[in-house]
């Protein structure tokens, strides 16, 4: 068998808990061609350069080849990305000018009007109430799961409120999202029979999810309601509105991106702080460090390890390599955020790190749309967790991980506690 590249090894499920040694090897070739023709970019400077290069497209429909990894044996892996990210474009898979226009149209519904973008900051009391409720609920327990009981419920409750998705529907879309995410694999395991089976399920889940979003938007078209989705359907700005298909696709993106990533960041924050008792102690004594601290956690355990929809529209010379026209480009944010050329002692957790210009939310025109909301949620959640947990101890290290490689995060984080402060 041919030896696997560092990237392929990093993608193996067995290495999900700690891909960093493979990233380190990977960074020796900042732009590394993979056997399937994908170019993986793993160093900070090169990623920033490509994020600002107008010859790079994010439009998945311009990708000439399937982005899924090729089969390990004979069976060709199917192009799965399309199944997971719906066929109609949404802003994350669009290029300018459509990207800029659609993002411009969505933004005010999310943050508020340009002259007073207050919607996100207005959510702070709600977020605090939800976090308090979740922690209160754990009173009397000696062992908790920081994922199921804490990291998951907060973002999903918040995003439902922001978007106007009925909370009762949560179990349904939760299972679609999980199914779809578990089906996505870019590594050598993609061709396994199990993954191929999951793929079919993933497809179905996305279709049902899409159907669900379409119906929800239809309902809002007839009867406007609270939240961003209704506003997107009913309130056209000066530039008009979006087509139904694009609306559905963006709704899907928001529901999905709006919580999966945040869940993983909260879970990873708890895990990381419990692994670094000094940092935990520091944060307990200086709660204001939660603001730079969350930036460090975004760097340290990036919720979006890489992004996979880009491709070169021209030959691009970079770091001694030419990415040929048409080649898919993966930007490995999780690796760039540990690049020693950019961050001093990158594998150290430093809640007060200066000059922490991490790529956890990317950069350039696709910079995370939901960043202000995500930051607020995680600051409140992790801040309160640290303040209120008495003597928290990690039960299992490393904890079990989710299958997905992009949205990397622990499936459970079991924590033993002595109690919960008020």
């Amino acid at each position: 068998m041919v030896e696997e590249t560092p990237w392929q090894q990093a993608l193996r499920y067995a290495n999900r808990a700690n891909p960093y040694p493979f990233y380190e090897e990977l960074r020796r070739t900042p732009v590394a061609r993979q056997p399937d023709g994908t170019y993986v970019v793993s160093t900070y400077q090169e990623i920033v350069t490509l994020l600002h290069d107008p010859r790079v497209s994010s439009d998945i429909r311009k990708l000439p080849v399937p982005v899924a990894a090729p089969a390990e044996g004979s069976a060709e892996a199917e192009p799965i990305t399309e199944a997971v990210i719906s066929l109609e474009p949404n802003i994350i898979t669009q290029d300018p000018p459509e990207h800029d226009r659609d993002r411009r149209m969505m933004m005010p519904h999310f943050v508020g009007p340009p002259h007073s973008p207050h919607l996100i900051s207005d959510l702070e009391p709600d977020i605090r109430r939800i976090v308090d409720g979740l922690l209160d609920h754990m009173q009397g327990k000696t062992r908790i799961d920081a994922v199921d009981e804490f990291a998951y419920p907060l973002p999903v409750t918040v995003i439902c409120k922001v978007l106007g998705v009925p909370p009762d529907d949560e179990p349904r879309f939760h299972s679609w999202i999980e199914t779809a995410l578990d089906a996505l694999d870019f590594g050598p395991e993609a061709a396994s029979e199990e993954m191929q089976n999951r793929l079919a399920g993933g497809r179905r889940a996305v279709e049902e999810f899409e159907q669900f979003a379409a119906e929800l938007l239809d309902r809002y078209a007839q009867q406007p309601g609270p939240g961003m989705l209704s506003a997107m359907v009913n309130e056209d700005g000066p530039e008009g509105g979006m087509s139904k298909g694009v609306l559905v696709s963006n709704a899907l993106l928001l529901i999905f991106a709006g919580h999966e990533t945040t869940v993983n960041l909260i879970a990873h924050s708890v895990l990381t702080l419990l692994r670094h008792p000094d940092a935990l102690e520091k944060l307990r004594h200086r709660p204001e460090l939660i603001v730079p601290g969350v930036e460090e956690l975004l760097r340290f355990e990036s919720s979006v390890q890489f992004w996979h929809t880009r491709s070169a529209m021209e030959d691009i010379h970079i770091a001694g390599t030419t990415i040929p026209k048409g080649a898919p480009i993966f930007l490995a944010y999780g690796s760039a955020n540990r690049d020693p050329k950019r961050f001093a002692d990158p594998d150290e957790l430093d809640l007060e790190r200066r000059d922490n210009q991490h790529l956890g939310f990317s950069q350039g025109i696709h910079f995370c749309f939901g960043a202000p909301l995500a930051r607020l949620e995680v600051q409140v959640a992790v801040g309160e967790f640290v303040r209120r947990m008495q003597n928290p101890r990690l039960v299992e290290d490393p904890p079990p991980y989710r299958h997905n490689q992009i949205f990397r995060g622990p499936r459970h984080v079991l924590v033993d506690i002595d109690g919960i402060r008020d």
Binding site: R104, V111, P114, H115, S116, P117, H118, I120, S121, E288, V291, P292, V294, E295, D355, N356, Q357, F361, Q363, F367, A371, P372, R375, Q379
Partner: protein, 72 residues
């Protein structure tokens, strides 16, 4: 308190605006203006904004509270 934005670095991500809209404002889509000497009550907001800036363009006074030290 005192703030300056290096507007050569700033790329108009507006993260600061969403976090502290009394201090940072956009005119149009991308042109950022701000209150360089906001009230001290805004400190937490401004610090959140500075931490959130994707290109770390926001400079906050490091001597605050040591009033008059610049001219003593």
């Amino acid at each position: 308190m005192r703030v300056a934005v290096d507007l050569n670095r700033c790329q108009g991500y507006a993260q600061c605006v969403y976090l502290a809209h009394e201090v940072f404002r956009l005119t149009g889509q991308e042109a950022l203006t701000y209150e360089p000497n906001p009230d001290d009550e805004r400190r937490l907001q401004v610090e959140r904004a500075a931490a959130a800036c994707p290109v770390q363009a926001i400079v906050i006074d490091r001597l605050d509270g040591v009033e008059g030290s610049a001219t003593s």
